[in-house]
């Protein structure tokens, strides 16, 4: 268990691989995907999971990239289940064949989340950069047939925000138990494509109306979770519930991060290949850097909300201002708020950004490790 006044983490996001059959332009994975191609082995993941459990982790989110591209996924799930971790697979569902699904069920997988790009094939396949929509529906039905609870994950942006009603209809047909409608967060590929992804305020207002009505209609049948876009909010999101406070991420090559996009920050590295997870969580310079409130500048330092939103997102502060220790520019109190307001104003103008070319997320084929 974590000591030295540091609470134990609840959740571990295991990004098993950055390889992925989809090429979504809103992906928050890093741009230098191939730099993390030296993936942890099965035995290394098993050791990481045992250390995580001992540290107090209770939930394991298996993601990527596409976690099904790891041939040892069922072995990793089985190890997690034996340790008593709640296992949650976050997948495109490409590769979730009946055989693999049954292996994962036997291994003890608790829950499946499948991404959907839109409500119909043409748009969905264009957004994913590959034919995938029909296969996702087949896999979603399989998940229900095998008795798993099904969550659908939909990342929202300018190109699908007006289709939420139809997406919810599809979710109902698929008998999803939960649906997460989450606006794009602008990191990695998504930040590169921001001008073409950011929705207008008019789109957001329509979306909120649709979601409000769905909450009432679907009460007790399907849980609808709607995550507002932080660019359009007055206050920043409490990123990861605070730096090094509740969650940690292990990336494909064993790097450990307080959040999945913290690669970009100019901070000391930490890796399970060099140090124990407990030391990294409790004592590493990386995890201590923005833990708590002592690091905060004004306006955060004197703000009543400092324990609510923890100064917002360190990655966003760095990506937009070049300084990770500044207030998240999303906050209307930030001296840098104009950077976000400008992007939102451009999105409201509409026509020009609508046609912005979206750069697909590409994994460099030549440098694939396995």
């Amino acid at each position: 268990m974590a000591s030295a006044g540091v609470d134990a983490p609840f959740g571990l996001l295991a990004e098993l691989t950055y390889r992925c059959p989809l090429h979504c332009s809103y992906c928050s994975n890093p741009l230098d995907l191939a730099a993390h191609a030296d993936e942890l082995t099965t035995a290394e993941w098993q050791r990481v999971l045992a250390e995580a459990r001992e540290l107090g982790v209770l939930q394991l989110h298996l993601s990527g990239g596409e976690p099904l591209l790891r041939r040892d996924l069922a072995e990793i799930v089985q190890c997690a289940a034996e340790l008593g971790l709640y296992t949650n697979l976050i997948t495109s569902a490409l590769g979730l064949t009946p055989r693999r699904a049954e292996q994962l069920l036997a291994a003890g997988l608790d829950h499946v989340q499948i991404s959907l790009q839109a409500d119909e094939a043409a748009l969905a396949d264009r957004l994913a950069g590959t034919p995938s929509f029909e296969r996702k529906l087949v896999a979603a039905r399989l998940v229900k047939e095998l008795g798993w609870p099904l969550t659908l994950n939909v990342v929202l942006h300018r190109h699908n925000a007006d289709r939420i009603a139809a997406i919810l209809d599809l979710a109902e047909q698929l008998e999803a138990d939960r649906i997460e409608l989450a606006h794009t967060q602008y990191y990695g590929w998504a930040l590169r494509n921001r001008a073409g992804l950011l929705p207008s305020r008019a789109q957001l207002e329509r979306a909120q109306g649709v979601v409000r009505a769905a909450h009432e209609r679907l009460q007790g049948r399907m849980e609808v979770i709607y995550v507002l876009p932080d660019y359009h909010s007055r206050y920043p999101k409490p990123c990861m519930g605070g730096w090094g406070r509740r969650q940690l991420t292990v990336v494909p090559d064993g790097g450990v991060l307080p959040c999945p996009t913290a690669h970009t920050l100019p901070l000391p590295r930490a890796s399970v290949r060099e140090s124990s997870l407990a030391w990294i969580w409790e004592s590493s310079p990386l995890f201590r850097r923005f833990r708590g409130t002592d690091w905060m500048p004004d306006p955060c330092r004197s703000c009543d909300r400092r324990e609510l939103d923890f100064g917002g997102c360190r990655c966003q502060a760095f990506l937009l201002t070049g300084d990770a220790a500044r207030t998240d520019p999303v906050c209307h109190l930030s001296p840098d708020h104009g950077l976000v307001a400008g992007a939102v104003a451009a999105a409201d103008e509409g026509a020009r950004t609508r046609d912005a070319v979206l750069a697909p997320r590409l994994y460099p084929a030549a440098r694939r490790s396995r």
Binding site: G56, H111, R178
Partner: protein, 98 residues
């Protein structure tokens, strides 16, 4: 915006059980029982864990309260009922009927 579900009314004849996607575990790292769902961990106190261990789909709500009376000096019926209602609303418990 989090989804909200109205508190379902239940009577003493319901036989609550944990929903299929929910796990009740003891966490040695924290020395507490925890309730695990896809996106949330609920750390339980001793009484909460005792109530949930009795939610086996066999016992009625009335029988759960009776079993708790055998174990604890004072059992607040309303508190137990509210606890079960809250978890039912969050879809952690299903109201099975015998």
């Amino acid at each position: 915006m989090r989804s909200t579900v109205p508190v379902q009314t239940a009577d003493g004849a319901d036989r609550p059980r944990l929903a299929r996607h929910v796990r009740l575990r003891f966490d040695p790292a924290r020395g507490r029982h925890v309730l695990l769902t896809p996106e949330a961990v609920t750390v339980l106190n001793g009484t909460g864990a005792a109530v949930l261990e009795l939610c086996d789909g066999q016992r009625t709500r009335t029988e759960i309260v009776a079993a708790l009376r055998g174990r604890y000096d004072s059992v607040d019926d309303d508190e137990v009922r509210l606890f079960l209602d809250r978890l039912t609303a969050r879809r952690c418990l299903e109201a099975g009927r015998g």
